[in-house]
Symmetry: C2
Subunit: 325 residues, 2 copies
Amino acid sequence: MGADYSPHNEVSGALEAVKAAAGRFRVLLVGKKELLEKELQGYSGYQKENVEILDASEVITMDDEPVSALRQKKDSSIVIALKALKDKRADAFVSAGNTGAVMSGATLELGRISGVSRPMIGSQFPRDIGGFTLVFDVGATVDAKPHWMKEYGIMGSIYAEKIFGIQNPSVGLLSVGEERAKGNELTLETANLLEQTNLNFIGNVEGRDILAGKADIVLCDGFTGNIILKFAESVLPALKSRVKKYSEVGIFNKFKAAITASVLRSSLKDFDYQEYGGVPLLGVKGVVIIGHGSSTPRAIRTMLLRAEEMVNKDMCGTIAKAFQQ
Amino acid sequence: MGADYSPHNEVSGALEAVKAAAGRFRVLLVGKKELLEKELQGYSGYQKENVEILDASEVITMDDEPVSALRQKKDSSIVIALKALKDKRADAFVSAGNTGAVMSGATLELGRISGVSRPMIGSQFPRDIGGFTLVFDVGATVDAKPHWMKEYGIMGSIYAEKIFGIQNPSVGLLSVGEERAKGNELTLETANLLEQTNLNFIGNVEGRDILAGKADIVLCDGFTGNIILKFAESVLPALKSRVKKYSEVGIFNKFKAAITASVLRSSLKDFDYQEYGGVPLLGVKGVVIIGHGSSTPRAIRTMLLRAEEMVNKDMCGTIAKAFQQ
């Protein structure tokens, strides 16, 4: 309910997912009942028996301070949805709402998987040669400790194997140089810990190696990860704005800019973060995917299908097992 | 001598700068005399009286460990050039060699300006709307302390005013959210310190605000800055590689890709980090500019002209004065 275009984009995307799933799962729309019912009236051709509304009278907005909002708005869509997950009424939770509230709420309501110190958020960065580099953590916890980062490596490797089918994924540690001695206090100590695991740790990687795809998984603290993620997301809009400016100088430029825009659209499809939905919150007891506040219906659809996959592949159970050992 | 294409690119760029300066400054080429003399034979049409060779028999390579190389190779071009700067035989030092060696060497040989805790490296990021955002520090010191970052703000503001003519430049602190409470331990404490200065501190900025140009100056620790810089530098090559891939599917695509490449070349000129040369090392007693190992002659030329500007505008003296107060 608190996202930029809710409930329109959420409902629209959910119904697309329901159609695509063709009965494999049902969607529980959590929010203000009357608004959701009204929105649903605009659609047809979906399997009505696979869509249900769960009423939630309050809304945590994008500007709300996460922790106090969670405390004060007990009947918000985020809290009610998380309770549904906890009560096994739902198997996964997908939200384009207040990221901090979803993160804190998931940790508070669902709890951490036993042995996991801090949940983390994973993101996929497109590679120049195609495919993705997975980057963890992109903002669940700003100040990381070395053993948390080791845990990111364990959870990330499971995610890469289960969801992307990468056997024995290579794990790189984001730092300022490839050499073992290059890094800050955090990365130097983290490298020591990673070397003692049975992960496929390949050492330090640099900022340029994310797009170059030097490692399947790149580990960093949530502060650094969040900043790179937001920087990366700003590249395509900056590019578009430059090409637009170019197009404004005469008819010939306009023509060339139109061709450029079409080439970029087609060759950089996966650079558009909306295309592949949200980011998983890993380490909590339940499947949670967090999307952009401005998630498109297509992004919501992708998030729901990804959530289904994470449930079917028992993401949480597999992490729990790994942390028991 | 230790750069990827030295001494060719260095000599070629230096002679271009000498021509452009038309007698305003002379260039001292520091390195193996016989190699430099041989390289110089290939050129004509420059003012010979404005080019001089300073012999240095050793070379610090890109793979050398900076501090031990500085100790062992006392007759390397980097050490000899820094000594020339210290002895006032030169007014500025420009290098495309081993970054760590130039940084450490400059700090050791020249010393820090009184009151400056740590030197910093500044970088300029192109903005979507044109112009630049200045980012400090991009890698001089990986683990920063809040009062060092305050000093980055002071030095950065002087650089922005002196070199770019920006009056009262706005200073943003790179963090994970705009709100005052968002950040890690380092940024939260740094924000407190910045608020007590008379800098034009506008609060937190996010990763996306660098290209969007929300602040004239963005402050971050050298670890984060280095990673963003290298990530940013990898964007254009990634883009090119995608467009190339697109061009390989049929003659029509090839045509459209060629137009795209030309539009991007013209509208993203300033996204190519080679175009505007190197980055200044601020806080040491002398003008030092560090370039890419693969610096083009054009980059070397730009670095030399920028160095001239920094000398003429008394960059070091102005910083020294600010830190006296």
